[in-house]
Subunit: 226 residues, 2 copies
DNA sequence: CCGTCATGTAGACGACGTCAACTTATCGCG
DNA sequence: CGCGATAAGTTGACGTCGTCTACATGACGG
């Protein structure tokens, strides 16, 4: 290599100085897979999904451009790995709403809705990656991404089932009702992160009023009819 | 009206065979801008937005790779032009629901919802292009795309305002209420076209039941409280 | 008839994803 | 302890893409 551009001194974690191996630090880089995911998550937040190139991520991790192929079979697979982290996080915030308000189903419902909206606005680019058309989302491919997505969805289904049993939410196929409720939340978030509600975002007060209205609409839409 | 694709001859319209000029055939190609949009719409339907490359569209229109720059300042602008056609079409189907059921607001509401869902499923790739992150959607850029989008949205606002006046839909800022209602529809469609509801689509009967539930949920969510 | 401008063309550049072939470091086994 | 197998990383190449610049062409107005 003619010149090695100093690029990223903060890349490789110095191959085991001390002789005792507290942590394995297995191979050349140490843990390139995790480093790529971390760099990807950072870059996603800063510059959006378009900026997530294999070569760019490799650069950020301080390795050569094809090194990622040892850990991800394609760019799609790398994006899927990043998106997967998003679903894990989304599930966490939904579970938190549950643990804080599980006894009051209406409160649980509304807080879960707010948590979903909060996630979408707080991790807008991640949200777009998770639900947009940035990578293939076919069954059979990226199974752990599907698992993570289903895991997040399951927290909504749990909420709906519990709310049906307590009489808050209408009876009917829990899947269908969950989707109907989810759709309201998701539609609002999807429109917002894709800048289709700019006339709202310019007005933070109206935005938060609308977000609250959406959360209530979400509940009223599936509330048990008297 | 580039939306209908009556099977283009796929190449240049033969530079003046006969000597008499029946149709003007104005410039070199004739009407490259419309040809590019038409080819784009066709390709979008067949292969999705990823396939919409400037060079590929030029190929389909039978011109050299940089010719499109005479009519669109960038790939983004070309995508915006194609998306714009989608908003025009969407507005049309929403207006049709209006004209057929304008006297019965509940019917109008439900048919508009079905029309929206029908558009999303019938023109899934177009829908993704219109609402996904495939191009910049900043205010000030692609103004005619914004106009078309706002035109389609306005049909929903009109519906909400009329329904508020007749007491079908809750009072409140018409924008906020429109967005809440729109969100339900849009979320369902967005999830579906992005293949997040595959367990539904495998089951056409459940799918249509859920679509109906979503349309009703959309109304119940904003119905005037008794 | 001629100049001008809109329209279309050709070449080049740097980015990208991916493949094949190569090198290097680590670990398991005798 | 040493050695081969193999996981991890590198280099070079190929074809694609969007876009820039310079150039060619054809239609229309004076």
């Amino acid at each position: 290599m003619p010149f090695k551009t100093p690029r990223k001194p903060a890349a490789r974690p110095a191959p085991r100085k001390g002789r005792r191996k507290a942590v394995p630090e297995p191979y050349h880089h140490g843990n390139l897979r995790e480093a790529l995911l971390a760099a990807g998550i950072q870059l996603l937040k800063e510059q959006g999904a378009e900026a997530l190139g294999l070569r760019e991520l490799a650069r950020q991790a301080g390795v050569s451009r094809t090194a990622p192929y040892r850990h991800f079979e394609s760019r799609d697979a790398l994006l899927a790995g990043i998106a997967e982290q998003g679903f894990v996080k989304l599930r966490e915030v939904l579970l938190e709403a549950r643990h804080q308000h599980e006894s009051d189903h209406e409160r649980w419902f509304l807080e879960a809705a707010r948590a979903y909206i909060g996630f979408a606005f707080g991790y807008a680019e991640h949200f777009k990656l998770m639900f947009g058309g940035y990578m293939k989302y076919e069954p059979g491919q990226h199974t752990s991404l599907h698992d993570a997505g289903n895991g997040a969805f399951q927290t909504l289904v749990d909420l709906i089932v519990a709310s049906q049993e307590s009489g808050l939410v209408m009876k009917g196929d829990p899947m269908a009702v969950s989707i109907a409720a989810w759709s309201t939340l998701h539609g609002f978030c999807s429109l917002a992160v894709h800048k289709r509600l700019d006339f709202l975002v310019e007005n933070p007060e109206l935005l938060s009023k609308t977000a609250d209205l959406v959360a209530r609409t979400c509940l009223e839409g599936v509330r048990a009819r008297k």
